[in-house]
């Protein structure tokens, strides 16, 4: 017992000669991979429109219920959130919302420096969340690949989409 | 240095009175520790530093710690203070006061008849203490240690866990 304790002490003592693993944070930033789960943003599609279609899947997937939104519809048939609110004092940065999102709208970014001295300031509105870019998926445009009919695109006109089948006709 | 002696004696007396009158057992014990410490100081002033140190180590530092330990385990609450208050009336301490009064009268008479020269200090060093302990009083020391050994064995016997019977 004593021998093993002494051996442990010696091994720990030898750590004097090891370089510290610490990264001196504010001066020296650590590398964060692109898929690091940090501050949540709402992205736009390549045409500059909002990607979010207000399907509520992110709010449902969120384990701490920190996302709240209200869906509404434009005249051209596009859905979008009337408001979109994330309470970052609750958010646990689990990334489930990103996984649930069918349109790649909600994305987590490698940024974590968002501390505030007032708790209210951690509630981000849609204006705070929305960015002017496509995030991690540059070419994806939901309305271009989905079969939904909007003003400038009828059914069957989407990428890789066949013409809708006329169910009243028996012809092949 | 006589006033030091009287000061220590006054502290000891005060603390002893507090030991008796406190309703909370832990507070009473703390006053008792203080009384023992002032007793140790008196021993020191009377030229017996070895006994003074032993007083602190053994009585204040070990035995009283055990007392406090036991009292801590008893989980005394406000109700026990009330109980103490009910017990603490004249009829319970009448007899004690009578006996203590006799001692007080004896003390006063002794003081009036003549008090030995105060603080006639001859310092007793640890060396002398040990020489007398292992010289003329060797038998007493050995008997006391036998008694303590008996106590130790007895305590061990009482505290021993029951031997588990082999399962049949």
């Amino acid at each position: 017992m004593f021998i093993s304790a002494l051996r442990t002490m010696w091994k720990v003592f030898l750590h004097i000669f090891q370089k510290p693993e610490t990264i001196q944070y504010p001066e020296e930033k650590p590398y964060l991979p692109p898929r690091w789960r940090g501050r949540i943003v709402l992205t736009r599609d390549p045409d500059g429109e909002e990607r979010c279609v207000a399907c509520y899947l992110c709010a449902v997937a969120c384990p701490v219920d920190c996302i709240s939104l209200q869906a509404t519809e434009e005249e051209d048939g596009r859905r979008y959130p009337e408001f979109f609110r994330i309470n970052f004092s609750r958010c646990i940065f689990c990334g489930y919302c990103e996984e649930a999102c069918p349109t790649y709208a909600i994305q987590l970014t490698p940024d974590f420096e968002m501390s505030e001295s007032n708790r209210q300031n951690l509630v981000y509105e849609k204006e705070d969340l929305l960015i002017d870019g496509t995030g991690k998926y540059h070419d994806y445009n939901f309305y271009r690949v989905s079969g939904l009919k909007i003003a400038e695109k009828d059914k069957g006109e989407a990428v890789n989409e066949n013409e809708p089948v006329d169910i009243r006709s028996l012809l092949p | 240095m006589v006033w030091l002696f009287y000061l220590a004696a006054a502290v000891a007396l005060f603390c002893t009175v507090m030991v008796i009158t406190r309703l909370n057992a832990v507070h009473a014990l703390l006053y008792m520790v203080m009384a023992l410490l002032s007793l140790a100081l008196i021993f020191f002033l009377l030229g017996a530093p070895f006994i003074a140190a032993l007083e602190v180590i053994v009585y204040a530092g070990a035995i009283m710690v055990l007392f406090v330990f036991v009292i801590m385990m008893l989980n005394i609450g406000p109700q026990s203070v009330d109980q103490e208050r009910r017990w603490f009336n004249l009829s319970t301490w009448r007899g004690l006061v009578f006996i203590a009064g006799i001692l007080l009268i004896e003390l006063i008479i002794a003081l009036r008849l003549g008090f030995p020269e105060p603080l006639d200090v001859t310092e007793v060093t640890p060396h002398q203490v040990s020489l007398s302990l292992f010289g003329p009083y060797l038998l007493g020391v050995e008997l006391a240690s036998m008694l303590l050994l008996a106590g130790l064995v007895g305590a061990y016997h009482l505290g021993r866990r029951e031997q588990e019977r082999p399962k049949k």
């Binding site: 304790a5 003592f13 693993e21 | 602190v56 530092g61």
Partner: protein, 317 residues
């Protein structure tokens, strides 16, 4: 000159002890960090040296809260006891010839008496906090410190036999030829264990055991009262280290350098050892701790004492 020399000594030792204890907080954090491949506090001031100042400012300005369910007088008394007893013990340490508050002819016994009184602070803190974790911590500390005190005294008895005195200055002078850690190696090992347990430092810190008792006996303390426990612990480390140096490593004796420097150097080696123990060893279970005291350490010290006594009697050196 000679009239104010004692006062200079008293205040010098007091100031030195308190400064050392405060600096030890920084030293411990830095050393632990070094052994765990980190940096430790290095932001406030050069090398983080002013971290202590920041801590002190924080601890003084914090709310000094006494829980309503606590036993108020005892609650306030407990942290005072630990500071008093440890600082009193520093009075008998001979730092160098001419430096040191008092040369008691029972200096060693005085040290033991003070360390036995320091049990009260932990116990009373645990009891008066009136919370179950504190009480558990107080219970453990009472049992632990009583058991380790028994052989703490006995482990030093060998040194006393060899030096023939309870006076710490005489003990240091008796080590002119050979430092006592060679003939009294067993005594050194056992005293080191006892010292660890008395200061409840990390392998034996069961009274506070963060992982099971929150903070043990000082769970309910805050502000400067907690600070006093904290500083008291570091004072305890400095005290035990300087005591080991005095008893086993020839105190201020050493070639070339001035005596006080030797004393400081040797003491800091033991302080580092204490911190290394914290960095490397896990905490034992409570029954293991008690069994270790009574079944391993006590027989060892008794054996040491008997052998030392026999040899001194036979050869009379």
């Amino acid at each position: 000159m000679s009239a104010w020399l004692p006062w200079l000594n008293i205040f010098g030792v007091l100031f030195g002890a308190l400064t050392t204890a405060a600096m030890l907080i920084w030293v411990e954090r830095r050393l632990l960090a070094v052994w765990q491949d980190r940096y430790g506090p290095n932001r406030v001031g050069p090398f983080g040296l002013l971290q202590v100042v920041a801590d002190v400012i924080k601890i003084f300005t914090k709310e000094d809260w006494i829980p309503p369910f606590a036993d108020k007088p005892v609650f306030i008394l407990a942290p005072a006891v630990v500071m008093t007893t440890v600082l009193m013990s520093f009075a008998v340490i001979p730092f160098a010839p001419g430096i040191g508050v008092v040369d008691f002819n029972i200096g060693l016994l005085f040290f033991l008496a003070m360390s036995s009184l320091s049990v009260y602070s932990v116990m009373l803190a645990g009891w008066s906090s009136n919370s179950k974790y504190s009480l558990l911590g107080g219970m453990r500390s009472a049992a632990q410190m009583l058991s380790y005190e028994v052989f703490m005294g006995l482990s030093l008895a060998g040194v006393v036999v060899m030096a023939g005195s309870f006076s710490l200055r005489d003990i240091v002078e008796a080590q002119r030829n050979v430092w006592f850690f060679i003939p009294q190696f067993l005594g050194l090992v056992t005293f080191l264990m006892a010292g660890l347990a008395e200061t409840h430092r990390l392998p034996f810190d069961l009274p506070e055991a963060e992982s099971e008792l929150i903070a043990g006996y000082h769970s309910e303390y805050s502000g400067m009262k907690f600070g006093m426990f904290f500083v008291g612990e570091y004072l305890g480390i400095a005290l035990i280290s300087s005591f080991i140096v005095t008893m086993f490593f020839g105190g201020w004796l050493g070639p070339f350098l001035p005596p006080f420097v030797w004393f400081g150097l040797k003491t800091s080696v033991f302080v580092a050892l204490f911190i290394l123990l914290r960095a490397s060893l896990p905490r034992p279970r409570f029954d293991q701790l008690m069994a270790f005291a009574w079944k391993a350490m006590l027989p060892l010290t008794l054996l040491n004492l008997v052998v030392t006594g026999g040899l001194v009697l036979a050869f009379g050196f």
